[in-house]
Point group: C3
Chain length 313, copies 3
């Protein structure tokens, strides 16, 4: 694993989960490993959990994190090939990625989907440009089509909270007023497909995720049917994939309530809009794992950085 940009960069999900749990028990064990190494965190988009947990992970490894809000702190970056740059972008990714590689030993990037340019999103233009032009390892802090640090975090959280060998895990679409990316949903699907769980997806018609990602995973359009006997309910909104980036439904029929999930554990990547995505009673109840989930972000990021440092940077 040179870079960590996709769930498929995890060679063995079960051993990774065990390694992350070991880090959680003793987070400062490798505090010398990253000494005098710099992690550059480049944000093209807002961030709370990712920003803090990835910095914390780096600090636990003795690394120096340097944060940059690319849009606010620097200038527009050009990704096109052969462009005559007489418009609003002032630096080409070819230079930007190569230059940042001079100062940082590892580069972590957040660059959300546009939700307006499906081709650009599907091609992961920003992430792939960094992979192409940077000379140091790249970590994906949520790209157009995936959020593999979140997916791995979710795997750890399910493993910690499972009470049976093969729990039933349901990913359910939930309402939201804004058009949201598919990245978290995609990475969760890809993670569950690697784990020993009974996994189903439920979403309204018109909201199926990319079929190349969901593959053979059962998709229910009836939420009630899907949630039956669930051990874990993972709620997340996403905009339509077919009618790319559109919001087709904003009523609260699909909002998660205690009645809907019963005794199942509730998961969400956060931030979450209360009483739109999920009712207060669920988040404030005993079955909510969302805070523990956010805590595991640190250890997921720390294992990824540890593996990158171990291979030598």
């Amino acid at each position: 694993m040179k870079n960590y940009t996709h769930i498929n960069d995890i060679d063995n999900i079960n051993s990774w989960i065990e390694e992350a749990k070991a880090i959680k028990k003793n987070p400062l064990k490798d505090i010398k490993l990253g000494e005098n190494k710099t992690l550059g965190l480049l944000f093209f988009n807002s961030s709370l959990r990712t920003r803090l947990s990835t910095q914390k992970a780096a600090l636990n490894l003795g690394m120096n994190p340097i944060v940059m809000n690319v849009s606010g702190d620097a200038w527009g970056i050009e990704f096109g090939d052969g462009t005559l740059m007489n418009g609003s972008t002032a630096e080409h990714i070819k230079e930007a990625a190569a230059v940042v590689s001079q100062y940082c030993d590892v580069i972590a990037i957040r660059a959300f989907a546009t939700l307006t340019d499906k081709e650009k999103d599907e091609n992961e233009v920003v992430l792939k440009s960094f992979l192409k032009f940077a000379s140091v390892p790249i970590v994906n802090m949520e790209s157009a089509t995936g959020h593999p640090l979140q997916g791995f975090t979710d795997a750890i959280t399910i493993s910690e909270n499972a009470t049976k060998k093969k729990p039933k895990v349901v990913l359910t679409w939930a309402p939201h007023i804004k058009a949201l990316p598919h990245a978290v949903g995609n990475s969760f699907v890809q993670t569950m497909q690697k784990m020993n769980v009974e996994f189903v997806i439920t979403n309204p018609k018109g909201y199926n995720l990319n079929p190349e990602i969901t593959k053979n995973t059962p998709i229910y359009h009836n939420q009630e049917d899907a949630l039956k006997n669930a051990d874990f309910v993972y709620a997340k909104n996403w905009s339509s994939y077919e009618d790319y980036g559109k919001v087709l439904k904003t009523d609260l029929d699909w909002t998660i309530t205690n009645k809907k999930i019963g005794d199942a554990k509730f998961m969400h990547c956060l931030p979450v809009r209360r009483n739109v995505v999920v009712a207060d009673e669920v988040l404030d109840g005993e079955n909510s794992l969302v805070i523990e989930q956010s805590n595991n972000r640190t250890f997921a990021a720390q294992l990824v950085l540890k593996k990158i440092l171990k291979q030598g940077v």
Copy 2:
């Protein structure tokens, strides 16, 4: 003292002042105390002194400071209870505070008064929400009604510069073109009420601070009378408390001049608008303590963080 959110969290002002002076003499003595501990600094508002001095204090204790401009770096936070979050806020304080507590050992927050919603300000909604939902100690870097790091700084500065046992200290309102919060004034009043000083306040009619804070402290509406025989003159603008958040007076009658203060030492928390709040001659003269005051911000914050670290985090 679990948290430091109010001047009343100081159990013994005199011993705290002595402890802060000891830190000032040897600021790196406790450099091991905060090793591998993280201080999260969350700014809902602009900051220069607080941003730098609190980071410096953390570094002097060996802590790792992580700075977040909440509005710019993340998204709008919801504080209402039971809200249907289909508006502009994307994350509830319940999650935000609990989540940040996973990554930071101590959280410091700056959230100014709105000056438009008196009830929200008086109830310290932002600060109290963090106190309620965070699981780690909270430090107030200026909230709606108080700025206790500044108040404690001012106590240190007066103690260092006093030439008599019970000096006369005057807090005087001064002009400003914008509506400013009452936080600095409030905390200064509360600090002086704990110290062995002759303390009076002077402000124009209509500008009395909250009487529950000023209590029995004499308030003069004649600035000249109040300033007589002053040893320390602390100038600060605030908007009207009675006519909440309004600017009633912008002429320069109350601007501080050398003639007005005579031999008294001049104090201000900064930033200060020159020749509006105070004349150049005062700030540039020998009796100004403002730079020394700003220096003491580091040691005030450092003692607070030291006490929090000592109790175990």
Copy 3:
């Protein structure tokens, strides 16, 4: 050298270059030198390379960097003398510089030219105000009329890549759609005037740099003539100095191509607009030094900080 604000602060360019090369070979040698020292990086303008390389340099010396985007994180700063501050600025440089000096052992500042107020720019109002009112050493991270960290970087890069005793170096103006400052051009001219090189400048009529800076350096208005037999071609756009801050020419006649530079090495400070300033073929070709140049920014900054730390802060 108390401060590093101008190429003239380099007492001996050749020995500085050798010292920087030694740092590049062993960047962590002085990791104890800056222990518990703080470098404040104040940005009035955007930055990518300078932001990252100066932090990296500080970290290599064991310093703690603290970054502030002055405009975004704090408030407008007043530079006028005797101003009645009832406008948009909330803090005077007299206080701001003195206050930041309380928390930082060294202050680095970026404040670009206005390009509208020639007198203010020529007088280096921001930089000189910090020099006047700060009590700690100042490092120039690009001011109105100079970018001496870049100039020194360029000297290192030319020294590393020269294949003859006295190479021919050509600074050529190149097109750009926006009005850019003269700082990089000025500092490059001043650096080359100190080195053992054959140095010429070429720019269109109306684009001569300040004659007090170019002095006796030959200026060609015919780019082809100037580029003949060049060993190094340094491209940079700047707006008109005579018709201050104006863009007189935006066609692509002066764009740098492989044909124009032949076997010469290509240099640019970055960011660079591709196919406007320089053709893709040059940047993507073997003779481009721009990434190596950006790498040398770290070692230029590190030598400057090392010298400042060595003299005691």
